[in-house]
Amino acid sequence: MAVEQVPSTPVDAANDTLSKRPLYEGSTQYQHWRFSPEQLHKTREVLNTDAIAAIRSTFEADSPGSSSDIQFLTYEEEILLVKLYVTKITQLCGHFRFPEEVEATAISYLKRFYLKNTVMDWHPKNVMLTALFLATKTTNHPISLEAYTSNIPRTAPSDVLDLEFLVAQSLAFEFAVWHVHRALWGIWLDAQDLPIPVPPERLQQAYDSALQYVGTSRITDAEFLFTPSQIALACLSLADHDLALRWATAKGVEANMETIEKVAIMVTRDGVVPSVEVVREIDRRLRLCKNPEKVVGSKAYIAKLAKVEREAEVKRARKAEEIRKAMEDGDPFGSELNDGARVIADLDEDD
């Protein structure tokens, strides 16, 4: 943050606040990854129904009537599955001794990915690995791919890399995340400056326990509904309500404590790791209702591959024909300028 603008007078400061846009509202997190609970619900529901419709039609195309007895996952079940893999990221980060920033970023990526994709297309156990690997790179804690995969059983480098572009694309290449733990750190630092000093032991204790709540908040949807500072303050209020209130009063935002309460309730209510039995049951059903086009070796997968190959073949043939025609015209680079548009259109995907 190189911008250092110190307002000269309080009046100036007030004017600045009015005319300028706050920094956080310029972030992609605020602009593209902020929802109302209803919007979040709707997005997931639509995604789920669309996915089910698409997969059902694939099944039907394979053998008619085969999809009638398949129990597809509901979007609540999808969330449960993703939640479990969120906790897996935490475990992996502990194993690799990654800093908290990597962990938080990877979890945000995973959750954002499943706002654009469904579990039935891409299993979170693969996406999680890619999201974490991507997060190490975007947060400037790079690790070599070999070191990464060799420490995870039954994982090849290609498993991670194959999904990388898909994940980045689903994130709309918006890799920057505003984190709750950094906001909590800021609150903790600033709380040392309260008008009535708080004993350092109490501060430290509150901070440590609030950090636990921050970890819990990552399992919930809080980051899609609230700002990082609000979640951080809520975590602090869960740890030490009085301290949080005093800090909020010092900042003049005690009127917003209502929102903070909502966050706190959400963290305690939703921040529960789903039980392994439930998730195992979901996973078992997922094996049946997975999009067959994405299952290596299945009929639909082979059909899809063949289709892609056929399209590529048609394209190649067309290209060869064009080149042959150009050679016949005597100019290997083509004769007319208006051919250029089509040639460029051909270039975009596979060249």
């Binding site: 911008v3 400061a13 846009r21 706050p22 956080y24 109302s36 600033d190 700002t227 990082p228």
Partner: protein, 370 residues
């Protein structure tokens, strides 16, 4: 040098007196017109080289089309070009036109002796085009500023090009000349004004160059003087050192060391002063040049136009914080643990900003897109 050698050789070959040949050459030169022709109808092609001289075209195959004498017979053969762009040797010109205007032996146009010009291009059509263009440029010297809109200026340029083309290719000469005359009459004042402007500009350029030359000279003198002073000073130091070694009974080695240190200090001061002077004058030179040549305003570059509110009034930084996480980094005075430019204060500030950022944002409600 080479021309002297050539004339010597010629004299020797002909067996005649060398002196006579040279003198006759000189005489013919003074009789025939030089580059400064007074005629207003003929403009020499005369492309000048940087020193301001016109370099004449010269070839071993030159032959006078009138008397058929060539360079083999007459090494001093000099061909001049008439206003109808026909070549003739000097002796033919003398012979034909000394008694007044006479018709050209090739095209019968009436020519005068003074209207012959030296040849600069091998191809006479180029010669003609260059001279025509030069003449036209003198007559038609309006500028873009003299026209209200670009369209009119372009029309004017088109007309000038038409006239030039006609003159070069001998199309409708009388009519074209009439057009030029009419134009001259109409625009006499403006043409005159523009001519003066051009002259003033050339003059200004020349003055600027002069000033720069003087400045350079001054700088060189300055440098030379500084060098001399330095040499004197060094001599003085040496003498003082010897004197002090003679007179005092202090440790010789220490005396030498001290005087050396002094000398070094003085030398450094001198070079600093000298280089500063040089820098100043060259900076001034550059400024002058820039002031003269740049018409485009130099607006300072602002890399970031966006103007964000960074919550500066929401927090105040303390000198230091109790922060176990960064303690190791802060204790690390040699900076082994931190990358270049890392300051823990900046990390703190980022955290503080992040703590107050968006605290008052109301959560979204409902299905309406934000």
């Amino acid at each position: 040098m080479s021309s002297a050698g050539r004339s010597n050789a010629g004299g020797w070959l002909r067996g005649s007196a060398i002196r006579k040949g040279t003198s006759s050459n000189n005489a013919s030169r003074s009789l025939t017109p030089q580059v400064h022709s007074t005629s207003s109808t003929v403009f020499g092609g005369g492309v000048k080289d940087p020193s301001g001289r016109t370099s004449e075209f010269f070839s071993m195959d030159d032959q006078c089309p009138v008397c058929k004498s060539d360079r083999y017979l007459n090494p001093k053969l000099r061909l001049l070009v008439s206003s109808c762009y026909h070549k003739m040797c000097e002796s033919c010109i003398d012979r034909l036109f000394t008694l007044g205007p006479a018709p050209c032996p090739i095209c019968n146009k009436i020519l005068r002796k003074l209207a012959f010009i030296p040849q600069t291009f091998e191809d006479l059509s180029v010669e003609k085009e260059v001279s025509v263009r030069r003449r036209i440029a003198k007559e038609f010297n309006k500028r873009r500023e003299d026209f209200p809109i670009l369209r009119v200026y372009n029309d004017y340029l088109e007309m000038v090009e038409d006239i030039t083309f006609n003159l070069i290719n001998d199309i409708d000469i009388p009519e074209t000349e009439a057009r030029i005359a009419a134009y001259r009459k109409e625009n006499a004042a403006l043409t005159e004004l523009n001519t003066q402007r051009d002259q003033a500009y050339v003059q200004a350029l020349k003055e600027q160059e002069e000033a720069e030359k003087r400045e350079r000279q001054l700088r060189a003198d300055e440098l030379r003087r500084a060098e001399e002073e330095e040499r004197d000073a060094r001599e003085n130091e040496r003498r003082e050192l010897i004197d002090s070694l003679e007179r005092s009974d202090a440790d010789a080695a220490r005396l030498v060391r001290r005087s050396r240190a002094d000398a070094l200090k003085r030398a450094a001061a001198r070079t600093a002063a000298a280089s500063q002077a040089v820098q100043q004058s060259s900076a001034m030179l550059l400024r002058n040049r820039a002031a003269q040549s740049s018409t485009v305003p130099d607006v300072p570059h602002v890399p970031l136009q966006d103007d964000w509110y960074a919550y500066d009034d929401k927090y105040t930084m303390r000198e230091t914080y109790v922060d176990p996480a960064s303690e190791a980094v802060r204790r690390d005075r040699e900076g082994i643990m931190r990358a270049g430019g890392y300051r823990v204060e900046e990390a703190w500030e980022r955290a503080l900003r992040s703590a107050v950022a968006g605290l008052e944002v109301t959560p979204l409600v409902g299905l309406e897109p934000s």
